[in-house]
Amino acid sequence: MKNKILIGTAGILAAFSIYSCKPKAPEDATTGDAASRVYVAPGKYDEFYNLVSGGFNGQLSVYGIPSGRLIKILPVFSVFPENGYGYSEETKPMLNTSHGFVPWDDLHHVAISTTKGEHDGRWVFANGNNTPRVARISLSSFRTEEILEIPNSGGNHSSPFITENTEYVIAGTRFSIPMGNKDVPISSYKENFKGSISFIKVDSSSGRMNIAFQLRTPGFNFDLSRAGKGPSHGWFFFSCYNTEQAYTLLEVNASQKDKDFIMAVNWKKAEEYIAQGKGTIEKANYAHNVYDDKKHSATSTILNEVKVLDITQFPDIVYFIPCPKSPHGTDVDPTGEYIVGSGKLAATMPVFSFTKIQNAIANKEFEGDFSGIPVIKYEAALHGEVKKPGLGPLHTEFDEKGNAYTSMFVSSEIVKWNVKTLEILDRVPTYYSIGHLSVPGGPTKKPHGKYVIAYNKITKDRYLPTGPELTQSAQLYDISGDKMQLLLDFPTTGEPHYAEAIPASLIQAKSLKIYKIEENEHPYAAKGEGQTKVERKGNEVHISMTAIRSHLTPDNIEGVNVGDDVFFHVTNIEQDWDVPHGFAVKGANNAEILIMPGETQTFKWKPLSSGVFPFYCTDFCSALHQEMSGYIRVSPAGSKTPLKFSTGKVENQESGAGK
């Protein structure tokens, strides 16, 4: 059966276009003026920011489009020795969880905040897939400001998709698990395992997140999701797989049924129930970590309860819509009327109509129920099917002209089709095996269009080989005309999954340049050299130090003993853009810290041997950067070396420098 589909589809592909049969040589695949169309001259800027998930590097990378130039990697869920994230005392709490400090995660998806369904350029949200978490990153400072752990989740894949006005960020569990960390046999899946979907409320001014409520669902897997918009605002759509409720060899056992579900959630209705005091409070431990950019420090708070609505008890919150073969992407078009289900093992792609779904609910056109939850008749919800779109449809993005772009993993191509007529308009090969794809503004009510970017899973021969592990290959296509045109390959870091692109004009002018030193509320800040000091508190030594081009104050420190905990609280008292200083100590079992202008960061060091240890600025800052250094003397444990510190003080005229 499967082979038949394969052969049949291959034939149709061949008929459609010779290009899609087998990728041709790159020089034939690109157009003649491709280079000039992606060329951004020195000193000029790219048109779009492309915020790209880093996958297994746990970070977010920022590229310019159309050039494909990597501008920044910013750490979210993983430690980053390059700037001290997760190493400095101030940032360690960001990675705290109910399991303790977790230094890594798998960042799959991003969501740029929206107002009225359009990009507002304030924040980008990201999911931690492994130890379930959601992060909020500022698009002014390009820093992770908040991380919220998700309790009762077995992997946060269906996340962090957002509602039209960023009212909620979603976190749907990938794996169902027993609630409350219960110790039960794995084989009791059907009885004990449940799914949970967290609705995380976002404060509209501060962006602060908290779990408003969780929906408790029957046990299966949630894959991806999208909020409704326009007429469907108030609804959320989730793709579900493993409705077989398998708990072993899912590759086979979760692919048995012809159809799984798209789950439609009426979250406005859920809000009403919550407002009426419905739902139960359950115990659950989870961390909420917030970075304060005045105190320049993060705090981690362990929360211990969550409000739960069991959907089997509130049947008008949720409806299931049958969708062929383990749907992956579930994507809502810019009008909010059409919901595209991508059954990754299916030969057709269903497009559902929100109006028809509403009518089907009103007329009770149900084919039955699953755990008491109504299952809408497939045909009653269906707008139509995209016939033979290609093999392995995964994700769909949209342009501003009513077209959809679907990634085909197995047949390695992007297929362009018309959302209303369901007619296939064009297809281009990708090199190779595309996963996610991104059209600027593609998930919003107002796509910016112009390009589609493919994030490919297989690289093979696209770059100079670098041993067994290769860079990940992304590709940029022009979609402004009728035919998609390949313009550029660009390498990416980590393993990108989803990404969004946003016009630079919505972010560029708001980009933060410095932290105002006047507003620095760090308890150990030295706001000026007059406030520098060294204090001993038991076996802790706290050094309030300043950095400015090009000296550290104090730069001579004595009176520290082996076994002390030494805290260097370094304040960068510069107030100029792009003048960070760095700090590192010889032999420290730690990463460096980078300190932005006006900021204070703390480097902890536990000296294990006596001697004199140099420290220095690690970020080239001026012509006298090499001079930006100092010494700290460490005496054996229990020594009575007097505590003293200075800068520019020459004690011994014979051996010292200077006069």
């Binding site: 000039s36 105002k516 008292i573 012509a623």
Partner: protein, 156 residues
Amino acid sequence: MKNLISLVILGLILVSCGPEKPKTEGESQEHPSGKDAVIENVDEGKGVGQVKEVTLNTPLEQERIPRGKAIYEMKCQACHRLDDQRVVGPGWKDVTKKRKPEWIMNMITNVDVMLDKDAEAQKLLELCLTRMPNQNVSLGDARDVLEFMRQNDGEK
């Protein structure tokens, strides 16, 4: 084919290498008075920037002095001593006698343009070899710092 692409790129470079350097654009946006100011101010020793005329009062405006001192301690002291000794930058002793008040305030608030255009500022850079940083001092704060300097120079 390859040559064609190279030509296209070369063409682009030629076009985009026009007289306007990006840096000049940025500066003229940030300091709209910049270019005109050169002509107006430079001969008078007032430096380049928004500050055209400063009125100094005697006796000193007392309320400005502690504010100016606090800004000095936070943003200036790391490099400037109050005596005549140079550390990173020159000591402040007698600066108000050597420089016009407008020059001082322009140097504080518009240092990047001053270091590019003002001959006196450039001489100091050659001497000190470290570019004075932009410490993000507002005009009002710079005026307070100036009053603190006058006090440091013995004015009453």
